[in-house]
Amino acid sequence: MTQILKEGGKTIIKTGERIDTMNANQFEEDIQPALKDGGVDLEMDCTDLVYMASSGLRIIQKTMRTVMQLKGQFKIVNVSPEIYKVLAMTGFTKFMKVEQKKA
C-alpha cells in the first residue's frame, strides 16, 4: 500500500513492500496526487520496499522528469542495499539523491 504523507513542506511517498509488473500501474496512479504542485519537495521512502522491478524504475524515471518540469526536488531514502545496487547499475544513483537504509 502506497501512502502519501505531508511533513512540513515535504511530500513523502511511502512505498509498500513491492513495486513490480503486477502493481506498477497502481503505484503510478497512487503517486499522481503528489506530483501536482510546482516546486514540490518529494521524498520516496523505501523503508518497507524489498523488491522493485524495472517497471518501478520506469516510474522513478518519469517522476524525475515531472519533478524537473515542476522545478521541484526529488530524492529516494531508506533503500535496501540490494535495491540500491539495482539503482546504481541503471544509473540512477549518479543523477539523483539516493540514500541507503541505515543498518
Binding site: 523488491y51 524495472s54 522528469r65 524537473m68 545496487k85
Partner: protein, 135 residues
C-alpha cells in the same frame, strides 16, 4: 537439479514464476540478494513475453526450465510467439541522466548485468532465451 514450470501469458502468472525461483533458491541455499536478483531477471523476461509475444486475449504457453550442473544455474525460457530477440535491444546507458534517456529499456540491461551469459536462439518456431549464472 532440474525443474520446470509452464505458465500462461497472463500477468498474474508472474506470481508462480516468483514461487518457482524461490523454491530453486531455497534448494540451492542462495543468499537473499541473489534470490532477489534472479526473481528480477525472470520477472523482466517473462513479462516481456506476456506483453509482447502473443496476440492479446489468446491463452498461450510459456515454459521455463532451471538446471544446476554444480557450477552454473541455467535458465531456459521458451515461447512460440513472434520472433523476438531481447538481447538485440540497445542497452540503457547508465552514464546518461535518466531524465534525458528514453523511458524504459532497463529490463534487459539489468538481466545482462546480473547473469553471466544471456543468449537468444530462434529454433523450430520458438524463441529460446538461455540465461546462465555461475554460483
Amino acid at each position: 537439479m532440474k525443474k520446470e514450470i509452464k505458465i500462461k501469458n497472463q500477468v498474474e502468472e508472474l506470481e508462480r514464476v516468483n514461487q518457482f525461483v524461490e523454491e530453486i533458491g531455497e534448494e540451492l541455499g542462495l543468499d537473499m540478494e541473489l534470490q532477489m536478483n534472479l526473481n528480477l531477471v525472470m520477472e523482466e523476461m517473462v513479462s516481456n513475453i506476456i506483453f509482447y509475444a502473443y496476440p492479446e486475449g489468446k491463452p498461450e504457453d510459456i515454459e521455463l526450465t532451471a538446471e544446476y550442473n554444480g557450477k552454473e544455474l541455467i535458465f531456459v525460457l521458451s515461447d512460440h510467439g513472434k520472433e523476438f530477440d531481447p538481447t538485440a535491444k540497445e542497452d540503457a546507458n547508465p552514464d546518461i541522466n535518466p531524465i534525458d534517456r528514453e523511458i524504459g529499456g532497463m529490463g534487459i540491461y539489468i538481466v545482462k548485468n546480473i547473469m553471466n551469459k544471456v543468449t537468444y536462439q530462434r529454433l523450430e518456431g520458438k524463441n529460446l532465451l538461455t540465461m546462465k549464472k555461475e554460483l
